[in-house]
């Protein structure tokens, strides 16, 4: 193929791979180090622990005041939105680990957050925030995420047969 034009730089070719290889390795290691630094730097102090309601209560003392992300199912009749004044509102609801067999409820409070459209009975809630000593979980700003039950199909079907 283009072989002839290559051998014209034969000498360079013979020499180059070795120098290139060291350069290549050194450069690669430096770049990798930079990326590891970026990741570690971004993550340090910014990750949350991910807990279910029961896991939270099991280790409540240790977890109070820490950055958490809790997940659970919303109890429909616990949802309450209160407009205190023009600037302030409170959104409250309870979540549990299992709707069929609700154990302990975790009370979620969110200040000045709109009530998400998906916040309804049987929706799955993911909440970022911190818990206080009384077991009230205060959501961060923008820390409410909801998954709709129909999309992930957690609804109980009427008796299915094959």
């Amino acid at each position: 193929m283009a072989g002839t034009s290559w051998t014209n730089d034969g000498e360079i070719l013979l020499e180059q791979p070795t120098t290139n290889r060291t350069k290549f390795i050194v450069g690669g290691v430096l770049l990798l180090a930079a990326i590891v630094y970026l990741v570690v730097n971004a993550m340090s102090g910014n990750t949350q622990l991910y807990k279910t309601v029961n896991e939270f209560y099991a280790e409540k003392d240790r977890l109070v005041g820490r950055d958490l992300r809790v997940a659970g199912w919303v109890i429909g009749d616990s949802i309450q939105y209160t407009q205190i004044d023009d600037q302030n509102s409170i959104l409250e609801f309870d979540i549990v680990d299992d709707l069929q067999n609700p154990g302990q409820r975790l009370h979620i409070v969110a200040y000045n957050e709109p009530k998400p459209d998906l916040l309804q009975h049987q929706a799955q809630a993911l909440v970022e925030g911190r818990a206080d000593e009384n077991g009230v979980f205060v959501a961060n700003e923008g820390g409410l995420m909801l998954k709709c039950p129909t999309r992930y199909e957690e609804l109980e079907a009427p008796t299915a047969s094959n």
Binding site: D9, I12, L13, Q16, P17, N20, K23, F24, G27, L31, I35, L38, V39, N41, A42, M43, N46, T47, Q48, L49, Y50, K51, T52, R69, A71, Y81, Q83, D85, D86, Q87, S89, N112, E113, P114, K115, D117, L118, Q120, H121, Q124, L126, E128, G142, K147, C148, T150, R151, Y152, E153, L155, A157, P158, T159, A160, S161, N162
Partner: protein, 665 residues
């Protein structure tokens, strides 16, 4: 009754896929082409069978046949027909069947079209594509069967979630799935090249357009998903680094890396092993992505084992990974390149940096997405990584990538002198400095924004210059401006389509920086007649009314007058829609939308009893429309790059014919 026909055809399709894999392998082994031909026919036949299966499900959906569990789950009598049809991909079982439809379509098309050109690759490509089909048809037929019946027939169905009744959400899943399934074809041909040992770039030429088309659909899927989030979810954003979003972003990233590195293989015959690796990686990420998107396992606290299809997906990915790695290792000597990188300042080196950056981004997204699993594995406690961490870690890498995007076209193959590069960037750099100073003079003090806009601006100038240089060269040959420009695009579709895509990314870059750094939001209750100020905008709440909409809809609509710099612009009507039967609410934002910003208003609460007061959440999203404009430019660029070139097509066929004739005798 009709559903039984659907299920039966699904079963037959599954049987045919098994038959095809076995007989293609056997025929090739025994050197008996009749078996291979028969396998090919079987594979092509799966397509009409899967159409039939999808068709019967659609008919059942349209007729509201609630004896089928799936129909009950995702539809209801009062849904309009178009929604009943699109409910085919509204739930898990239906989506997987739809996935199968697209996969069968792609596979049949590839086998029908490329047969005569690539005889040697075909038997193996058939085997690999059929194995993928066996897996997905098997899941549909035996595990997530959409044709399961209910014992008692309910009167009405659940209905599709109103949030999913948005045009963006109706087209978004098919686009994503088209992208996902499309990548099966390059993978099948890559594996065929590995197994057959025909490692020249025939497989790359054969699959180039497939890859680009799959990538196009994946891009469209990502963009439409973002637009849907912005229009419907009402948090004023378009991307949240949600595991489901990341699951589609990751194969897109590895696909992007592949589209770039393939060019080095074509020009310099290097990076063969790397390209194989990227194809395998993309394929595995596609399968993983399908699973994540469908099951939602990462975002929920349920472990993988609890998901019914989880073990199958992981088993399949594992098998394909081992299978692919085995063949890459076995062919490693043939994949080794005789050519070396001659300089760190060259086009091929630029592609190498591009791949390094994209893979680094991919690795970070992967680590963060699966951090709950990794952290549980290593510390025994599930951790989670939020969007800010993604942004902090990835912003510098994206910045360097955009910079590279601008500079790389200035490099030459083999080697480029530093001086040449300097000449190329001197004036653009000066212009960028002026641009940044102007931004500073206009009061922008955030250094992140100054650096970001600077980099994006610099790459914008360099990319536009590429177009200008090419057009100018043609104009000197006597072509008028417009002819020169369109000829430039038509004659070098891949190259200038690529630059066009870069331009789209750059425009999106301006938008992303604008929204990320300068977004403002507030929430406030307003009495009728009261007003709220944000930026240059003022909104006056005129009052709200409640009325009944179509079906079971109850609509609360606010009238909000928007003023810009004190001048009345228009009245917008943000709404709350309430679906009385399901109890589902939908908050519909309305915006005053301009090229510089969106003034985006949501009514989040209305109190008809206590006077006429409503609570509003208001966002000022600077440059948000640049994100959408950039997306459109991006898609146009991909179309330019992927558009078939009749001249090329003929030429390759003429060259290819004698080769394939020779190969088959």
């Amino acid at each position: 009754m009709i559903a039984d026909i659907g299920y039966l055809s699904l079963l037959i399709a599954f049987g045919l896929a098994v038959y095809s894999a076995v007989s293609a392998w056997y025929g090739h082994r025994k050197n008996d082409l009749r078996w291979v031909e028969s396998a090919r026919n079987a594979t092509i036949l799966t397509f009409p069978l899967v159409i039939l299966a999808c068709g019967t499900l659609v008919i059942s959906l349209v007729r509201s046949d609630f004896s089928l569990e799936y129909v009950w789950r995702v539809s209801s009598r009062d849904m309009p027909t178009y929604l009943k049809i699109t409910a085919l991909w509204g739930g898990q079982a239906g989506s997987l069947l739809f996935w199968n439809f697209l996969l069968a379509a792609f596979t049949a098309a590839a086998m029908a079209r490329k047969w005569d050109q690539q005889r040697q690759l075909m038997p193996y490509a058939l085997v690999v594509a059929s194995i993928t089909q066996i897996f997905f048809l098997g899941i549909s037929a035996f595990i997530e069967n959409p044709f399961i019946r209910l014992e008692s027939v309910p009167v009405n169905g659940n209905g599709l979630n109103p949030l999913l009744r948005h045009p963006g959400m109706i087209i978004h899943p098919p686009m994503l799935y088209l992208g996902f399934t499309g990548f099966t074809i390059p993978y099948a041909f890559a594996m065929a090249a590995l197994i057959s040992g025909k490692l020249d770039d025939a497989w790359i030429r054969t699959t180039r357009r497939w890859t680009l088309v799959a990538w196009l659909f994946l891009s469209l899927g990502l963009i439409l998903g973002g637009r849907w989030a912005y229009d419907v979810l009402g948090w004023g954003g378009y991307w949240a680094w949600d595991p489901v979003e990341n699951a589609s972003l990751m194969p897109w990233l590895s696909g992007t890396a592949f589209l770039h590195s393939v060019m080095i293989q074509e020009k310099r015959n290097m990076f063969k092993m790397w390209n194989m690796f990227l194809v395998v990686l993309t394929y595995c990420l596609v399968i993983l992505g399908t699973f994540i998107v469908r099951s939602g396992v990462i975002s929920s606290v349920h472990s993988f084992a609890q998901s019914a299809i989880g073990p199958f997906f992981f088993g399949f990915i594992g098998i394909m990974l081992v299978f692919s790695t085995y063949w890459i290792i076995r062919r490693k000597d043939d994949l080794r390149s005789k050519n070396h990188l001659l300089s760190f300042l060259s086009r091929e080196a630029a592609f190498l940096y591009n791949n390094f950056l994209i893979l680094a981004i991919l690795a970070i997204v992967f680590l963060f997405t699966y951090y709950p699993i990794f952290s549980e594995l290593f510390t025994g406690e599930k951790g989670f990584v939020g969007p800010t961490v993604y942004e902090q870690a990835l912003a510098p890498l994206f910045a360097v990538l955009v910079l590279l995007m601008g500079v790389a076209p200035l490099t030459m193959w083999y080697r480029t002198s530093l001086k040449r590069l300097e000449m190329g960037v001197r004036w653009p750099a000066a212009a960028t400095a002026v641009f940044v100073l102007v931004l500073f003079a206009f009061g922008i003090r955030s250094w992140g924004a100054l650096v970001g806009f600077g980099i994006v601006g610099f790459s914008a100038i360099l990319t536009l210059l590429e177009f200008w240089k090419g057009t100018h060269a043609r104009m000197r040959k006597g072509e008028p401006l417009w002819t020169a420009f369109s000829n430039l695009l038509a004659r070098n579709r891949r190259r200038y389509g690529g630059y066009w895509i870069h331009l789209g990314v750059i425009v999106m870059g301006f938008g992303i920086i604008g929204v990320e750094i300068f977004q403002q939001d507030t929430q406030m209750r307003l009495q009728a007649g009261a007003s709220l100020q944000m930026g240059n905008y003022e909104m006056v709440f005129q009052g709200a009314r409640r009325y009944e909409g179509p079906d079971d809809l109850l609509i609360t609509e606010a009238a909000v007058d928007v003023y810009e710099n004190g001048r009345f612009i228009k009245t917008i009507t943000p709404r709350i829609e309430f679906y009385t039967r399901t109890g589902q609410t939908m908050t519909i934002p309305k915006a005053r939308s301009t090229i510089t910003e969106d003034f985006y208003v949501l009514m989040v609460n209305w109190e008809p009893t206590s006077a006429n007061a409503a609570t509003f959440r208001v966002f000022l999203n600077p440059l948000i429309n640049w994100v959408w404009a950039g997306s459109i430019i991006f898609i146009i660029g991909t179309l330019i790059a992927a558009w078939p070139n009749p001249i090329d097509e003929k030429a390759t066929q003429i060259i290819r014919r004698p080769v394939s004739a020779h190969a088959t005798d």
